[in-house]
Symmetry: C2
Subunit: 424 residues, 2 copies
């Protein structure tokens, strides 16, 4: 069947406008490690997908999944060693303040739990996030997600401008002053919630502001904003859905950007494609949530989630993928930084391990975002066998976020294609 | 390791108060068909779990899951035949007005999508549900879930008393008058939303009011309430998370209770333990949602969900499980109805296929709910090898909701144990 026919069927089955990548969408039929294959057998280096963190079709994950599903997969109101051991291991990977875990199925659900925990702990409703955040898709979490629209300045949510050295809030400031300027905006958001009688429950942020860029952050901002939040009586929720699980070259994004969150939220890579997410916090915070909310999530905290979640952690350790993310990511970022001076359209390149952004601009002086170029480059690179996408507040940042099995050789091959594209 | 030690570890790992069934919680290690096994090898007939709809550890599901995970499991922004075919087959099982599908991971997420679709279609915010509903656990969906607390009578949500012949809204009415009395309460809820300027977007209800009882519904109520909702400019959302997938002896609960919803929501049984959920509606409604919401759910609408979802449908058809639910369920319900006259504490017994409720009361005259008896019976039946739970607004209804592979023999064995329990 032709691709066009498949697209027509898809328009009816899933509704017109269900998101599809690329001008000529790809029909992917198989994956293997860092590679994806279309129906003609053509291979593509996957530089986009962070869910198959230990590689597409990883046989250890398949085996763990099949074995557990063939043994037992049931909800969490019976005792089961597996899910407890997984929660213990997961918490143990975090700082000491993360003691207890609430499992769910998606990052969105985990953020919902985090907000409920924070609101119960503080007795307040107000939430603060950045003005280009994405945290998920429910009514609540969607109202903290501004990829495609302006943030509200009333109600229970307030947005502050995400910290960014490349496109600073004000020109002409030193880094310390710029940091203070961003902190002032956070303080203003909190004050405005309090003035309206909402109170202040939590600030939520991705630990590397993944969807926002990811930007380079003024030195000290993350620790200082955490202090500010605590002084104001709120909690810090780290959204580690993208930055966690070794992506940055550390286990957690908050280790890389140097702050200590009260609540952590993880999702996508936890199950290498099996829906798993988690919210972690101090035991007394989770206890209060359990006592007040009777939270139950039928397909979460199951033996299947536990077995697959354990296998993913095993594979990350077995292949030393956190170190791989650091080494391959840092070298690739350095090589991309070299290109900033070589190409007028590359305004900036920066990254945290294997989450790398290349900022495309009309010219270096104006820094005017070039979203059209980001779109066309992603299409051309796809034709050359490399799958990536774009993000950022202005949709002009090439987004490189491969499975963590991505190698130096993959990176070099990409750089050659990237140069060829840009030289044309 | 002892059960007590495991419970202590669980209290720390998942937080104290994470829900556990039974006074002496069960450690379940294995499942097979309708049976669950504890760590001592003791078997229990599972009469509670609706997720493993085609049986625990069903080998066809294991095979489909393993094969697809070993081939490809990636998000939905590439074309994939499997997910389109699954959406087509799913929609085809519904009435003609369900054309397009939005996949997600949990019933809660699917309800969130349904509400967004209804609000976009109507331009209104207000929602109506029953006063003992459970639809899920996010901020929005949790506010339409009253298992453990009183419903609000302000804001964007209004609750109406669920229809019930056993505990009618008013005594001394004929069934037709009683039906009208319930409809009046729905009309009042809608009017109150409109009076407050919220507008009326949708009424959401489980097609058999599963958590509410399930009650016997006054004849004609479901079709009449649907007409009322449409006259008032709203949409009807059928929550088929419990009533769907053959449970009632028909494919969908709304076929059993005889109404035609505008939006359908399904979840739990779709993946036999793999998180899958779906929201179905007319194509123009889903198109409007796609156009306005940029909805994306990373681990949903994946080849894995599709392959497992297809295998579940295959198994339901192969073993004729919809018919099995009708035959075994109806006979078991009839046998339980016989016991209403035999035992003073059984106030009522009723069911829809293999969703059966046995209403326990202090005595038949007062109908005073006996939640303590429901709790103790579920504990005693567990000790005798039968796993069930209780539900209902007063927590006094024994809830029988087994995997659909539950047989006449299972039912007879249960009845013997049930009689022994009650005779003591």
């Amino acid at each position: 069947m032709g691709r066009k026919t498949l697209q027509n069927r898809r328009d009816r089955a899933l509704g017109s406008g269900a998101e599809l990548f690329y001008d000529a969408p790809l029909e992917i039929v198989r994956g293997d490690g860092v590679l994806l294959f279309d129906r003609d057998g053509r291979s593509y280096v996957d530089m986009y997908n962070n869910v198959p963190v230990v590689g597409h079709a990883n046989p250890a994950i398949v085996a763990a999944m099949a074995e557990q599903q063939a043994t037992l997969n049931v909800h969490s109101r019976y005792l089961h060693e597996g899910i407890i051991a997984f929660a213990e291991r997961y918490a143990g990977l975090h700082h000491d303040g993360i003691e207890s875990v609430v499992f769910s199925c998606s990052g969105t659900e985990a953020v919902e739990v985090a907000v409920q925990i924070a609101r119960l702990a503080t007795g307040a409703r107000g939430l603060v996030c950045t003005d280009a955040a994405y945290h998920g898709n429910t009514q609540l979490v969607g109202s903290m997600s501004y990829l495609w629209r302006a943030p509200p300045q009333s109600g229970e949510i307030r947005a502050f401008p995400y910290p960014d050295l490349y496109r600073p809030l004000k020109d002409g400031l030193g880094e310390g002053e710029l940091c203070d300027a961003y902190l002032e905006r956070v303080a203003h958001a909190i004050a405005s919630l309090k003035a309206e009688g909402r109170g202040f429950a939590a600030l939520i942020m991705c630990s590397i502001f993944a969807n926002e860029g990811p930007p380079e952050i003024p030195s000290g901002f993350m620790a200082k904003v955490t202090d500010l939040v605590h002084r104001e009586g709120g909690l810090v929720i780290a959204d580690e859905v993208q930055s966690g699980y070794g992506r940055t070259g550390r286990w957690w994004g908050y280790q890389k950007t140097d702050f200590v969150p009260d609540i952590v939220v993880t999702g996508k890579p936890m199950g290498n494609g099996l829906p798993i997410s988690a919210t972690g916090a101090r035991k007394d915070l989770v206890d209060a949530f359990r006592a007040r909310k009777d939270y139950f999530n039928t397909c979460a905290a199951t033996p299947l989630q536990a077995a697959v979640g354990m296998a993913v952690l095993d594979e990350i350790e077995r292949f030393d993928l956190v170190r791989n993310a650091a080494e391959v990511g840092d070298r690739l970022t350095a090589r991309l930084k070299e290109r900033v001076s070589q190409y007028e359209v590359i305004g900036d390149a920066r990254g945290y391990g294997l989450f790398i952004g290349v900022e495309l601009v009309k010219d270096k002086a104006s820094k005017e975002p070039d979203a059209a170029l980001a779109l066309s480059l992603s299409n051309r690179l796809k034709d050359m066998g490399f799958l990536l996408s774009y993000s950022g507040k202005y949709h002009n940042v090439l987004k490189i976020r491969p499975p963590l099995v991505f190698s130096h050789d993959n990176a070099e091959a990409f750089l050659a294609a990237f140069d060829e594209c840009l030289s044309r």
